[in-house]
Symmetry: C2
Subunit: 277 residues, 2 copies
């Protein structure tokens, strides 16, 4: 089984589904939020299937309540509506702390048949032209030293466009943009649910604006627009408004055929060097 | 009291708050989703205040489960976490149908002190240059004839950039963009919660791509980035991917001082003339 498949393994429980969070997917002390989103979506799709609903993740919107830690995780989906073409659901993600559940993430999902929303394409946005993966910079050497020990970074083969990696050597461009390529380090292909993880896998765009330290997500909404073809995924992260330490981070993901397969926006808080010094 | 203030009036109920949906805010048969979002946010902010939490709407993410109809509406907020700088909450919006509650909207919110996230601005996006309101086209004459009787349109003074109004005379530009100005028809000013209504108040961007009929929202996420100054609000709506009848619609709102005060993305489904004919 692939590393990601292993991390998303779930067993039925009294209230829904249960799984295990591993340090392998942590950044610093916290398990990556994208992995929590992919787990929550996996659990919700299974509950939806049991209820006669849809299984493809069309939309995911979540608020992050506390950081995930290695150990048992409980997922409790609630199917709100099974419609003809879409199913709506809510899911809570919690972990037992001293015997009591502590909520990590609560999310609302829309599920449907992803293949139904692929053609015809009336408008889209093309992937930016960037150097090929072998001319890009591995992200493993890029992040601040405090994060280099993170298991999360080892799960991916991420290659950053050299034009958007200045922040790694203390020279952020100030543009607030990240571009590059991504695939899983173990060679496994990424499926539709995996795209939710991918959308939150790149270094935060605020690094390119001079932010320091962790950039916690307040709210995240991602839309999956199609199943990704095998191969490298191309990513672009941008922001349009950074004020008072809050910013939006918009991510786009194209598959190896050049098709936009997912996009997202998150609201995140960041500390900026210019404000700290 | 202003028309909007009147529409957002709530009374305490056994399970939260109750209000009244009016035909005055309907488009066709359905009460506008933006009004439901503003109502849900009003109720959640009041419950948060009672729980010692924050009251300013930072983020709103909701899934629409069924169309709102004129009549009683019940709002049931649940405060998930009161943090130092932010409060997280969930809210359900339902209406009694034959004595049983039917859910219209479920949403997750983040509340905080909006004034805290205004300065410094490290990056932003300027409002596009468009003709002033008196050189723009009133939206009341623009929509398809089936919608001209809608109460909703009478609540606003909306002025569309002539360059993005071709669809009203059967000549959509195909760009998928709407630009213009907005204020309330009765002259009342719009506050932070009102921005959630504003984000969903313009004709859908899909009209500019040749869509016909109603464009139901599947999921909507809006971020309020500051309290709006009095006066005209400027709007721009765009999309980046329209495929298989699903599209994202991204809205931006600037206040009369030129500051970006809100932005949103929604996933919506549309029927396109090119596909219908």
């Amino acid at each position: 089984m692939s590393e990601l498949g292993d991390a998303l393994r779930l067993a039925p429980s009294d209230t829904g589904w249960t799984g295990e969070l591993s340090n392998d997917w942590a950044i610093g002390e916290a398990v990556n939020g994208g992995l929590l989103m992919a787990l929550a979506t996996t659990a919700t799709a299974r509950s939806s299937e049991q209820a006669g609903g849809h299984v493809g993740p069309l939309s995911f919107s979540g608020v992050f309540l506390s950081p995930g830690a290695p150990g048992r995780v409980d997922l409790e989906p609630q199917i709100l509506r099974v419609g003809r073409s879409m199913t709506s659901a809510q899911v809570t993600v919690s972990q037992p702390v001293d015997g009591a559940p502590v909520e990590r993430l609560r999310a609302l999902l829309t599920l449907g048949d992803l293949d139904r929303y692929v053609e015809p394409v009336l408008k889209t946005v093309a992937a930016p032209e960037i150097p090929p993966p072998d001319k890009c910079v591995s992200a493993r050497g890029a992040p601040p030293s405090s994060l280099t020990q993170s298991g999360f970074l080892k799960r991916f083969d991420a290659r950053m466009d050299p034009a958007t990696i200045g922040w790694a050597t203390g020279e952020p461009s100030g543009d607030g943009e990240m571009r590059g390529w991504l695939r899983l380090a173990d060679g496994a292909e990424i499926d539709a649910i995996g795209l939710l993880l991918v959308l939150d896998s790149f270094p935060p765009v605020s690094f390119d604006l001079g932010s320091v330290g962790w950039v916690p997500t307040v709210e995240f909404t991602g839309y999956v627009r199609g199943k990704p073809a095998p191969g490298w995924l191309q990513l672009r992260l941008r922001t349009e408004h950074v004020a008072g330490g809050l910013l939006n981070e918009d991510a786009q993901v194209w598959d190896s055929t050049g098709r936009l397969v997912a996009h997202s926006r998150q609201l995140a808080s960041a500390r900026f060097r210019a404000l700290v010094e």
